[in-house]
Symmetry: C2
Subunit: 205 residues, 2 copies
């Protein structure tokens, strides 16, 4: 079973890591059937019948998401580009790094370049993939690929219809203070700032 999973899954390196550090107990939940129960304009919901490790059956309900990217755009001054945007589910503005969903078949770097240009007008000539995060492991397939963008050149924004946002230039130290005080709470932005802090301090390369 473990060998099968290791071969079939692109995260096989991760499986070996788990095997090296943890017990061999296999918690895999096996799919018996899968049904699309809601097909919204934005949200697609599946409910799967599954077999639990003890042989009993249960269901799992989750959002099927195409994945997203977030960008940490760093100006020559060391300031970062952030956005203020109204987020309807919370009824208020958030301070965020630029981000957006991956279009079908789109390379994630191309998504990052497109979203940065559309939302802020900036193009960048130096791109680095920093990390991958999973915001909602309990109920969504979403992953977010975080990039750092340097060598920025300003152009024209091209917001989607119905998209309203303000572009800000912020000192990383000030953004970290906002994070600490609970004024930045969006997870892709919090994690991007903590990573940036590690890079600026020279703790991580």
């Amino acid at each position: 079973m473990f060998l099968f999973v290791a071969i079939a899954c692109p995260g096989y390196v991760y499986r070996y890591f788990l095997e090296a550090h943890m017990s061999k107990a296999d918690f895999t939940e096996h799919t018996l059937s899968s049904e699309r129960v809601h097909e919204g304009r934005l949200l697609k919901i599946n409910v799967d019948r599954i077999k639990l490790p003890d042989g009993s059956e249960s269901t799992r309900e989750y959002v099927v998401h195409p994945g997203a990217v977030a960008i940490i755009p760093i100006l020559a001054s060391g300031r970062v580009i952030m956005e203020r945007q109204f987020r309807y589910p919370h009824g208020r503005d958030f301070i965020e790094f630029p981000a957006g969903k991956i279009d079908p078949g789109e390379d994630t770097l191309a998504t990052a370049q497109r979203e940065l240009r559309e939302e802020t007008g900036y193009a960048a000539d130096d791109w680095r993939h920093l990390t991958t995060i999973h915001p909602v492991i309990a109920y969504s397939t979403e992953r977010i690929e975080i990039y750092v963008a340097r060598g920025l050149t300003q152009g024209e924004r091209a917001l989607d219809p119905g998209e309203f946002l303000e572009v800000l230039e912020v000192e990383p130290a000030e953004a970290m203070q906002w994070l600490r005080e609970g004024k930045i709470t969006d997870v892709k932005t919090v994690i991007g700032l903590f990573w940036l802090d590690k890079l600026i301090r020279g703790d991580w390369q």
Copy 2:
């Protein structure tokens, strides 16, 4: 309009922060109607008709979530308690801090104490609320309250039926290495570890 929002919204301090640092442009999206379009066992989905800042109309589709807590349990040795758990939407195990959903009417500290006891068997006599994070600002009302728990005493686990997980004791420095290498990617866990790193280094109190 701004005054109304400031009085009606518990986050009025946040509004004043935004006004001090950003333009006065108001991106508020006003609710025209709200409909429950999916009522699953786990996921409740609303679609709202809204009025955009330019007066045009659109829709917003989102998960209505009760909120959750996550706990960073720190042993006297300095090690932290983590869990290995299979997460069906991603088809693999994740390394996480203990966490769980807030029951209706439950105080968030009570949720944290209950989830820590149920999942790991530990009780703690020293609790501190660290921060609040928003994992999915685009399509879920979920927030996660992160607590640090010290003064741990081990008791019996009481897992929910169908819940399978392994409890681990991990050195924070090792967990940070796993994070850096992309082996810890769950956002509540990543953010909890970055905060813990700040506390251990004495950068933050």
